[in-house]
Symmetry: C2
DNA sequence: TCAAAAGTGTTCGTTTTACACCCATGT
DNA sequence: ACATGGGTGTAAAACGAACACTTTTGA
């Protein structure tokens, strides 16, 4: 029952999580687990969208958690098993398909095909499994700070169909070629992860964006409720902006959310824990549950 | 180098083609290759979107062309090889990912995972490889006639996010559960192909729809130009409607197409080959070429 | 009283949708 | 002349985006 006789099927998983600056400062004791280190030392990030990475075997390089498929195993099971075995996380949310990556740069004698999956997990659950011999850590994908800096460097975010540290796409009308042209880290001369894992993160992030592009409850789709029982609209907005890599106007966001069949409902609670006028708190209409996307 | 020792990787391909009633009548000599036979005998279909199928080995059942992955083979190559070997078609257009199907209904001792791909091919090329010992034929996916009948039976098409014979989705606001709930043939008690191939066709069709959902040239994305050098706007509209499983108003379609950065350009030719006022002919701005989608 | 963030009113322009009408051809 | 399909005018409705202003708190 050796794996050597047949093209290998690799499973790679992009596990996203979202954490505030405060979360990261108070809950991560080893700051080398947070990359890029300079970003987190020298500048403010606000809310961060992060992807879980680990050290590649015997090297400095960082990779996504991954493994190989075992005989007689269902593919979905394999992905969950990989997470359990490699990083010790027993995922409760659904894993979703990213696609297949026929990576030509893996250098061994066997062709390896990567099936990849993504999911969003609570930061609470993720932080517990950081560190260890594999140096499990978090790589910045996007943040409010990143978007601000990107905008300062590249002009208005409206030219882009979402921006992230793992790449972005031009809106067709602003694209040099009138297409949905994209730029990945490798195009920009700044590879982040080893192998083709930057590509995988990018496509996973593009799928994550879809969760926020309809009128439907994104957290139902993701299977988690990262905002807690009751939350400010501005919390929801910031979360959404970081996941989508786009910003919207405050009033526009509010009015879009508070219409007939919204997935949130106003509570009678208010929150004064932050400066400014107290905010009404909202709650999700329906609890997160298993759901099938397209 | 046996395949028995490891979970098998199957490749299934959904090959779409579009043909008019006249095409089908004049070019298909064996009408049993056209399914469902009753539909094509008894009622008018107009323009049809079809998927290529063949007989399952030693059975009446119909399946998608498929095969198994060979050692040291690139996944994209495998898909092209399968088409070449099984149905004798040397595809010139890019194959696109549908997803992975972990089919639990395949009954042999080994778990089989299906990587599936789709493409759109010219009817001209497809018709040449129909028939043969595998009874290669065409299965109706959607048609103008199908949409008309569906609308008569189920009410306005606006309630649906596209309809086809292989399933449809409700628009969230019309869905029983306020989701993008879907109905597949198996839910409707009318399985069409064997195994889980109905699902594969459905998801392939959902991807095909994307080709027509932006302002970009769908034929550039598909890699073919099914309409020829010059075409009527109504031809383009009918093609698009059949692929999307949605209908739009004539004037709205026209105005959406004829705006600043359209992918078509008006020619100085006119066509009087059909009743009514002669139509201006249009042509594609840019020739089909390799393109990367998301 | 001021800064900060929440929240509302109003306007303007664009896109969507609908409906009605006119146009040019073959029979 | 009339059926058939192509093509345009117009207007209401819906939506997106911008901007300015008010509200309510803590410091």
């Amino acid at each position: 029952m050796t794996n050597d006789i047949f093209p290998r099927i690799a499973i790679d998983v992009v596990l996203f999580t979202v954490a505030s600056e405060a979360d990261l400062q108070t809950m991560i004791w080893d700051e080398t687990l947070l990359r890029p280190a300079e970003d987190y030392r020298s500048q403010s990030n606000g809310l961060s969208l992060l992807a879980l990475t680990m050290s590649a075997a015997g090297s400095e390089a960082r990779v996504l958690p991954g493994g190989f498929m075992a005989p007689n195993e269902r593919i979905g099971e394999a992905a969950k098993r990989v997470l359990r075995e490699r990083i010790g996380l027993d995922l409760k949310v659904p894993l979703r398909d990213i696609g297949t990556f026929d990576d030509p740069s893996r250098d061994d004698s066997h062709r390896t095909i990567s099936f990849s999956y993504w999911a969003m997990a609570d930061f609470e659950d993720v932080r517990k499994i950081l560190g260890g011999k594999d140096r499990v850590g978090l790589e910045l994908v996007n943040s409010t700070g990143f978007m601000t800096r990107f905008e300062a460097a590249n002009g208005s975010l409206e030219k882009f169909d979402g921006v992230s540290r793992f790449g972005y796409r031009f809106m067709p009308k602003f694209s040099p070629s009138k297409r949905h042209e994209k730029r990945l880290p490798k195009d920009l001369g700044g590879k982040i992860l080893a192998l083709d894992h930057d590509d995988i993160v990018f496509y996973a992030w593009r799928k994550l964006r879809h969760a926020f592009s309809s009128k439907l409850d994104p957290f139902n789709y993701l299977g988690i409720n990262p905002l807690g029982e009751a939350f400010r609209l501005s919390d929801l907005q910031e979360f959404q902006e970081v996941c989508r890599g786009e910003v919207v106007q405050r009033d526009l966001f509010r009015r879009n959310m508070i219409n007939e069949d919204s997935f949130i409902a106003q509570t009678n609670m208010r929150d004064s824990s932050r400066p400014g006028k107290p905010a009404n708190l909202y709650t999700l209409q329906s609890p997160p549950s298993e759901n099938t996307g397209e």
